[in-house]
Symmetry: C2
DNA sequence: GTGGTAGATAGGATGTATTCCTATAAAGGA
DNA sequence: TCCTTTATAGGAATACATCCTATCTACCAC
């Protein structure tokens, strides 16, 4: 159990990353369950148990996790958001409260599972596709009507 | 011809905006043809003919044009980009040179023209949908192979 | 035309997210 | 245990976007 294949330590090793306390702390917080976080949020959270961690380290660590495929990065309202759900999916973001939700079944047709590459991108080397819906979540929408 | 319905002056008036030299200059540059610009680019361009224009005015003007539906706003690599092509379409962005292109036929199926709203968003009030493909454009892809 | 007022502009100050730089510290292999 | 490579902390730097305010101007009423 101590070093199972799913432990943060094993995960870092499996991706060729040195195991440091900072990386373990970030991995345990971010990779434990699907979530959306900014560098600032991670920094605040990790500082609770590791007060000396710097913003720089958080950025570097999240960037490495992204390069390893452990995280996806997207942008909303000018902020970089890291997503530990790395299976392909779309997002919706509330313009008011900032809530971000995953869209589980983005494609209406099962045949579209693998998003079809537009004809114009035949000669591109596509690395990522991001789709985001923006508007008011049910709660904020109800408030704005009042 | 002087004040045709398609002149920048008429366009501003039609949207309830006061006609100022600054707004005319921005409108003539940005709205003449479909293009993608940042506030910085607009500022640099307008200053050629109007050296005193401030960044603040550019931001305000572009924001107003957006609120009027004359421009769409999206984000790529942390920058706000304004798009004078307001018909629904997707984008592709080159990670290397920053080029942004419009995708004319984003939906493979004609029936999908109106992007189907995911089931999970039934109770949301959706204002906009953005979809962006990221990778290497043909030119940069060729270079990276060398 | 002219005058008055709501709205626009310039310019600087401010805030904030991200990246850069560098000396020090630590991980992990020999 | 030593040594080399890599990571970290902390501060500096950058860049984008917004806020603030005095001044100016478009345009409506007269």
């Amino acid at each position: 159990m101590k070093t199972s294949n799913h432990s943060p330590t094993a995960l870092l090793r499996a991706h060729g990353l040195r195991v440091t306390p900072q990386r373990l702390a970030v991995a345990e917080y971010v990779l434990r369950k699907p979530m959306h976080v900014t560098a600032r949020i991670v920094h605040e959270k990790i500082r609770e148990s590791y007060p000396a961690i710097s913003m720089n380290t958080v950025y570097l660590t999240l960037g490495q996790f992204e390069r390893c495929g452990l995280l996806n990065r997207f942008e909303v309202h000018g902020n970089i958001v890291f997503d530990s759900n790395t299976s392909p999916h779309d997002h919706a973001c509330c313009n008011r409260c900032g809530a971000i939700i995953d869209l589980d079944s983005p494609r209406s047709e099962p045949s579209e599972q693998a998003a079809p590459l537009p004809e114009q991108l035949r000669q591109w080397q596509i690395k990522a596709e991001r789709r985001i819906w923006m508007g008011l979540c049910p709660a904020c929408n109800a408030e704005s009507v009042l």
